[in-house]
Amino acid sequence: MIVDAHVHIYDENSEALHQLPFTAEALLAQMDGPYDVIGEARRVDVSVAQPHPSDSMRVTDIAEQHRYVAESADRYPDRILGCMLFNPLLDIAQGLAVLKELVDCHGFCAVKVHPTMHGYFLDAATDRLAPVMRLAAELGLVVIVHTGDPPFAEPVQALALIEQFPQTTIVLAHLATQQVSYSHQAIYLARDHPNVCLEAGWGILPRIKDAVKIVGPDRVLHATDCPVQEMGSQLRLLDILRREAPIGISLADADAALLLGGNAMRLLGLPEPSATAVLS
């Protein structure tokens, strides 16, 4: 089973400037591929979808921010799971209530914080984020932290959250890579903190190899950031790991399966599929 742990969907009502809508149906078309993965034509079975980050900045109705993702998760429950985008600068109580409802009524399985788009120093926001961290722990949700940009989103800025909530899985998004890369920092942090996982998406091949070798194949997730990134190219990077050195790292098929979806299924609490979807 292939799980993409990080995508965004939004319709024409999005506040994102000059972004064409990326609807649930457009996402499903991307997911259906097919893509050549471990020698087979495969589809992406499940995606974890968030709103566009722009929609959680100025829209103060937090339920409305997530309306489209919730409707899409309801419409395609086998293919799309929701992830809440939590802005600690908005009303905390409202945010917590909305998160609980999204989990209870729409099957949301993760919550994400985005210090860059919401504009706050992550390491100064621990107190404001503590309630959502506690609720995530209570609901068994992973917490995705956007990383890869100064000044707000360097991996070490998540350290207080990582250490104060050791029972909660914190996923450092994008292998800490956007226009600059803090991949080394993210890998080092994850190595020493077992509750930290790394998204592979956005990572360059040498750093993905480092992540798998240093942190282990059970804590690296396939997560593309689609539509910012395209799914096939990101799957290709993971598939290359199966090749022999120096191009790959001779990653075993079973370990590749963990990266591609097994880890996400375990962390997100997804049920084992009856059969892996093979289209060809």
Partner: protein, 269 residues
């Protein structure tokens, strides 16, 4: 005249945004303290004062958002002028009268903050056009925060400067924060005569490079207090007076321009 082009006034600390309390009294007190400038001392006579960008991220009542700056400017009209922070999602036509009223009330510049407001200027040209027209009509220079990904690069501002060639732009922080795009900022200014550069946050080698490429007419002294201190920004300029290789033996007339004359012309102050 010596003018600090970049000071942020905040009556309340906002640790989440890295904003510390810096009141109008703090500003005036700091401006009044003589600063070492080689063997001499100098005093900053005037400053351009703006709000933390977070305070303008939501809502469209510009006058309410800038009330504190208004009061500061009215209390010290000979020392302070205001800077209006604009969000690209504002309706330019609707807020134009407010911009006009603020301009009459001692505001002499506007600021765009791509980092805190989360936008890329070159992809927001349509939204920004009415705001740029409103400010161009009043002759207000546009200060743009630069120095960090994913939004605050110098080159996206180049498209804005090209779209509004009769408007003056100032790239704040010499394109430098936790990473530096100083060379990119210098290149943008080289290609666009309506673009100026702030000196604060710039390293000595990049200040030298900016002077080599642009000359002194398009550099603007600024401190970015309270994140930086005016004494640091002044010392960086003072170092340029040293002979090569430490400095570039910068002439007194060039320094006078950088320290205030260039900005006085832009602000018409």
């Amino acid at each position: 005249v010596i003018i600090d082009g970049h000071v942020t006034l905040s009556f309340t600390a906002d640790p989440l945004a890295g904003v510390q309390r810096f009141s109008v009294e703090d500003i005036i007190s700091r401006l009044n303290q003589p600063l070492a400038f080689g063997d001499e001392t100098l005093t900053i006579e005037r400053a351009v004062v703006g709000s933390p960008a977070r305070s303008t991220a939501v809502g469209s009542d510009l006058e309410a958002q800038h009330q504190v700056i208004s009061e500061a400017v009215n209390a010290y009209p000979d020392r302070l002028c205001g800077c209006i922070t604009l969000h690209p999602m504002l309706d330019g036509q609707a807020v134009a009268p407010a911009i006009k009223r603020l301009a009459k009330d001692g505001f002499r510049a506007v600021e765009l903050n791509p980092t805190i407001h989360g936008f890329l200027p070159h992809r927001s040209l349509g939204e920004l056009a009415p705001l740029m027209r409103a400010t161009a009509d009043l002759g207000l220079p546009v200060m743009v925060h630069t120095g960090e990904p994913p939004f605050a690069f110098p080159t996206p501002v180049a498209y804005l400067a090209e779209a509004h060639p009769h408007q003056s732009f100032v790239l704040r922080n010499l394109g430098s924060q936790q990473v530096t795009y100083a060379r990119e900022a210098i290149y943008v200014a080289e290609r666009n005569p309506n673009v100026h550069l702030e000196t604060t946050w710039g390293s000595t080698p990049m200040l030298k490079e900016a002077l080599r490429v642009l000359g002194p007419e398009r550099l603007i002294f600024a401190s970015d207090m309270p994140r930086q201190d005016a004494s640091v920004a002044i010392a960086a300029l003072s170092a340029l007076r040293s002979p090569v290789p430490l400095g570039i033996a910068l002439a007194p007339l060039a320094l006078t321009r950088i320290l205030g004359d260039n900005l006085a012309k832009l602000l018409r102050w």
